[in-house]
Structure formats: structure tokens, C-alpha cells
């Protein structure tokens, strides 16, 4: 399996082809449309991250030593961001997830989406992803 760092590099490479903001957002919107919807049984309040602007749902399970994340949102651009944020950490071991900084957003010019003022639930989702890393690490002991 590729490491988190390898997947980060792939995403940066993928976005380097976009010349302007429109291409970039078109791609983000396409990613948002492709993200599989979370099943209704998981779209519950305990998995919900309330943002003032958009709502996010995040669920995680430990499978074969890696964390499997499933997430959804009510806004498409937020869904696109979720697809991006999950790609490096999907299936990775808890210790790697717990330590991940999501630094690849900076070269992508998408860091603003994690700003607290956006209140879109993504910043809390990132924190929650790391917390799952910490929690599953502790569980495995």
C-alpha cells in the first residue's frame, strides 16, 4: 500500500495541471459528485459534525489494521473536500493517521477551506480523523 506521503504527492501532481481556479473547482465539484453517499444508518447525529454553513458526517472502523473512513456532507464543494481529505488517510494504520498534518492543502491553495471562519465542518472533521487515529491506536494497545 502507498504511504500517506506518496498519496499526498499524487494529489499535488494531479492539481498542478489546473491553470485557474475554475478548473480546480470543477475538479473539486466532480470529486464531490463521485463521493459515495453515506448510508442512512450511518447518517446519524452521533456521526454528525455541525457547521454553521454546511453539515458533515464522519464514520470510521478499523479493518485489517487500517482505518476505513466514510463521510458525507450536504454541500457539494464540502463533499469534494472530504474526498480529497480522506484520500491520503484511507486504510492507513492508526499511528500514521494520528500524526498526519494535511499539509498538502497548502500547495493546492485550498487551506482556506479549513479556516474556522468558514464554519463548514471540515476543520472539525480533520480533528476528528486524527482523533480516530489516536483512539484506534490506543485500542490496539
Amino acid at each position: 500500500m502507498e504511504t500517506i506521503a506518496q498519496r499526498e504527492a499524487e494529489i499535488i501532481e494531479e492539481f498542478s495541471f489546473f491553470d485557474d481556479w475554475m478548473d480546480k473547482y470543477e475538479h473539486l465539484i466532480a470529486l464531490g459528485k463521485e463521493l459515495p453517499a453515506l448510508s442512512a444508518s450511518l447518517k446519524v447525529e452521533s456521526n454528525q459534525i455541525k457547521g454553521c454553513q454546511s453539515q458533515v458526517w464522519l464514520h470510521a472502523t478499523l479493518e485489517d489494521g487500517g482505518i476505513r473512513f466514510e463521510a458525507d456532507a450536504d454541500a457539494i464543494i464540502t463533499r469534494g473536500m472530504i474526498a480529497l481529505l480522506l484520500r491520503p488517510v484511507q486504510g492507513q494504520p492508526p499511528s500514521a493517521v494520528a500524526a498526519f498534518e494535511f499539509g498538502f492543502l497548502d500547495p493546492l491553495g485550498l487551506t482556506a477551506h479549513l479556516s474556522p471562519t468558514r464554519a463548514n465542518g471540515l476543520l472539525s472533521m480533520v480533528k476528528q480523523i486524527r482523533l480516530y487515529g489516536v483512539a484506534f491506536q490506543a485500542k490496539r494497545g
Partner: protein, 403 residues
């Protein structure tokens, strides 16, 4: 003053956002500041900075004179009977909390506080807190599908039990202009106190608190071309004398002994501590600027643009405007069928258009419409038809990208 003269007073309107000219349409959140306001702040800090009402020295005298002159300006601006009826606060929220807190000892179980479904959280939560503290009951006046208050419901809910009627002059989320004078008269006939949140009305039209006959009227400088962190509470003398002080400290006392102090007279009883002197002085420059344009001209200009913008947006397939009350101020709250307001707002931002998206601190309104929020374009004296054209073009582009 013509529109290009007006726009020339605002240096920020010349900047770019994401490489495009700024189109600022978030004026209901805060307006931009004319050069005269920034000059007044620099003049104060660079020329006569000192504390007010304290020293015998020249600087303190100059600062006090400039500070108190703004109280007189505001008195004239809202046509208060006395200058001591103008209390300086941190802003509308602070003003409303001051009043709600003051009534804690005057309300009890069985009393009712009447608010409306149109309220901003700042004119809702302080009354919820007062109700919780005093045992009084909080009741709501509902709105109709156009975003106007349901007046039949208002008259049904307003009873002899109603001790306080609190509502906004203009809704920040929908732009609805409420019939303040008629509502105040009905409330007074039943002995209720009338508290009006005027944050959205003060920037757009001339206000006459005596003609409206309200007991309290609150507003913020930063929504009327002035600095942040400063606002006003107008109160009728009789009510301001009845209300206890809100905060203790310097300047609000007449005599202090270790056990008990006697309070200063109005307005100082409610202005504990060193006030936001620079903010007040900057606000004075903002009011002067508004009058140099003319309140009637501002109101007429915004009304014309509201009609222009409404027609532009309604011509775009899928756009639905929320808030279509017969009397409405310069706010365009809308959604696009099938699209989330956050997605649209994010793409508009990329095109240099500053709008607000979300609930606008008015969750009860959004719940009533059953929507997660709206996109809100709000206008000001410097808004141009070109701004609205840019919004419409950007909106069409955003819709194409998202569909």
C-alpha cells in the same frame, strides 16, 4: 453627490479579491468606511488622544468636546428629546443586553415577553436569558410566507400580560421593514415597554424615535459606515432612570464609599469605564458623511437598486428570493433550486463577490422556510448597478459549474 463621487470616498472599493475587482455585497454584516472616518481616527490618536471627562488639561478637554459632540449629532440624527437619552455601548448586542439585564428585577412569573420570528439571535437570546432568570414567558409573533410579520397573530399575542415587546425595525435576513409606529402604539395601549433593534434600519433611512414613540432603540456604528466596537442605546429618560446600572466601574458613579456608591446621572450611569473614544469620534465623521450624501438620497438609491437587483436575480432560472414583504429594505436573500448556499457562496467568492451565506444568525427564519440557509446580497449607499450585474453574471457561472 453622484455615485462615482460616493464610491471615491471608499478606498477599499479599489482593491481586488482573487485577482478580480472587489464587489462588496455584505453590507448588512458591516459597511465599508469612508476616508473621512479613517481620517478622524488618525486625527484623534495623532492630535488629541487622551481620556474623556477626566483631566483638566487641554487634550482631555478637546477629546471630551469631540466625544460629546457626537452624542449631540446622534441625538439630532435619531431626533431624541435629550442628549442624555443617547447611551454609548459596544454595539446593538450590548445595547439589547443592557436593557434585558435591567429588567431582571422588574419581571416575574406570569409576565410575558413578546418577540418575533424575524429576530436576529442578538434580539432573541438576551430575552431568553431574561425569561429564564425572571420566570417570565417568551412568546413569538409568527411571519407569513413573504417574510412579513403576521399582524393578526401580533394582536392576538399582545395582551395585558405582555411586559416587553422586542422586535427589529428591519430584518437582517430578509429585509422586511416592520410597522414600528403601529406596533409601538398597540403595545403602549396595553402598558408594554417597546424595545427596537434598529441595527439594519439606521444605515438606510432617517430615524425619528419620538415619532416612532419607542422606549428603546439600539444600533451599531459599524453598519452605518463607522468603526466597529461602538453602538448606541436610545432610551426614554423615564425608562433610563428606572433601569439599574448594567456594569460598575469608573465614571458611572457620583460618590463611592467602601460599602455602597451612589450612581451618576444619565447618560454616565450606563457608561462605566473608559469608553471607545476613537470609535465615537469616528462615528461622528460617519454620520456627517451620511448627511453630506443625504439620508433621503441613500434610501432612494438603495430602493432603486433593490428593484433592479430583484429583477436581475429573478430572471435567472432556479433563483428563489426569500423575503418579499411589501415594505422591504435593500437585502436580497436567495437560493438556487437544487444547490447548497455554501457551494454558491464559495464560487461567488472566487469571482470577487462578497456575499454572506448561511443562517444569518436567524435560525428560526430558516427553520420556517425549511432551508439550511440563504445567499444574501445586501446593499449600501455605494452599491452600483454594475455590482449587481457582476453578481448576476457570477451567479450564472456558479450555477453552470455546479449543475
Amino acid at each position: 453627490m453622484n455615485l462615482s463621487d460616493i464610491r471615491a470616498h471608499f478606498p477599499i472599493l479599489r482593491r481586488e479579491v482573487h485577482g478580480r475587482p472587489l464587489v462588496y455585497l455584505d453590507n448588512a454584516a458591516t459597511t465599508q468606511k469612508p476616508q473621512a472616518v479613517m481620517d478622524a481616527l488618525v486625527d484623534y490618536y495623532g492630535g488629541y488622544n487622551s481620556n474623556v471627562h477626566r483631566g483638566v488639561h487641554q487634550l482631555s478637554q478637546e477629546a471630551t468636546d469631540a466625544f460629546e459632540k457626537v452624542r449631540l449629532q446622534l441625538q439630532a440624527h435619531v431626533n431624541a428629546a435629550h442628549s442624555h437619552e443617547i447611551i454609548f455601548t459596544k454595539g446593538t448586542t450590548d445595547s439589547l443586553n443592557l436593557v434585558a439585564h435591567g429588567f431582571r428585577s422588574m419581571l416575574s412569573k406570569g409576565d410575558e415577553i413578546l418577540v418575533t420570528q424575524l429576530e436576529h439571535h442578538s434580539n432573541l437570546v438576551p430575552w431568553q436569558m431574561l425569561a429564564q432568570h425572571s420566570g417570565a414567558t417568551l412568546k413569538y409573533v409568527s411571519m407569513d410566507g413573504q417574510g412579513a410579520l403576521n399582524m393578526e397573530d401580533f394582536h392576538a399575542q399582545l395582551t395585558a400580560k405582555t411586559k416587553i415587546l422586542a422586535f427589529n425595525h428591519i430584518s437582517n435576513a430578509l429585509g422586511t421593514i416592520n410597522p414600528v409606529k403601529a406596533m409601538a402604539a398597540a403595545a403602549h395601549a396595553l402598558g408594554a415597554v417597546v424595545v427596537v433593534d434598529g441595527a439594519q434600519a439606521l444605515p438606510h433611512s432617517a430615524i425619528d424615535v419620538q415619532d416612532l414613540d419607542v422606549d428603546f432603540y439600539a444600533g451599531s456604528a459599524h453598519k452605518m459606515y463607522g468603526p466597529t466596537g461602538i453602538g448606541l442605546l436610545y432610551g426614554k429618560t423615564s425608562w433610563l432612570e428606572k433601569l439599574p446600572p448594567y456594569q460598575g466601574g469608573g465614571e458611572m458613579i457620583a460618590e463611592v464609599a467602601m460599602e455602597k456608591s451612589s450612581y451618576a446621572g444619565l447618560p454616565h450611569k450606563f457608561e462605566a469605564g473608559t469608553p471607545n473614544i476613537a470609535g465615537v469620534i469616528g462615528w461622528g465623521a460617519a454620520i456627517q458623511w451620511m448627511h453630506s450624501v443625504g439620508m433621503d438620497q441613500i434610501e432612494a438609491h438603495e430602493h432603486e437598486l433593490l428593484q433592479y437587483g430583484t429583477a436581475l436575480l429573478e430572471a435567472i432560472p432556479g433563483v428563489k428570493i426569500y423575503g418579499k414583504a411589501p415594505k422591504k429594505a435593500a437585502v436580497l436573500s436567495f437560493n438556487v433550486a437544487g444547490l447548497h448556499p455554501y457551494d454558491v457562496g464559495t464560487l461567488l467568492d472566487q469571482m470577487g463577490i462578497a456575499v454572506r451565506t448561511g443562517q444569518h444568525c436567524t435560525q428560526p427564519i430558516m427553520d420556517e422556510f425549511g432551508i439550511p440557509g440563504t445567499i444574501r446580497a445586501s446593499l449600501a449607499a455605494y452599491t452600483s448597478k454594475e455590482d449587481l450585474d457582476a453578481l448576476a453574471r457570477a451567479l450564472e457561472k456558479a450555477i453552470a459549474l455546479l449543475s
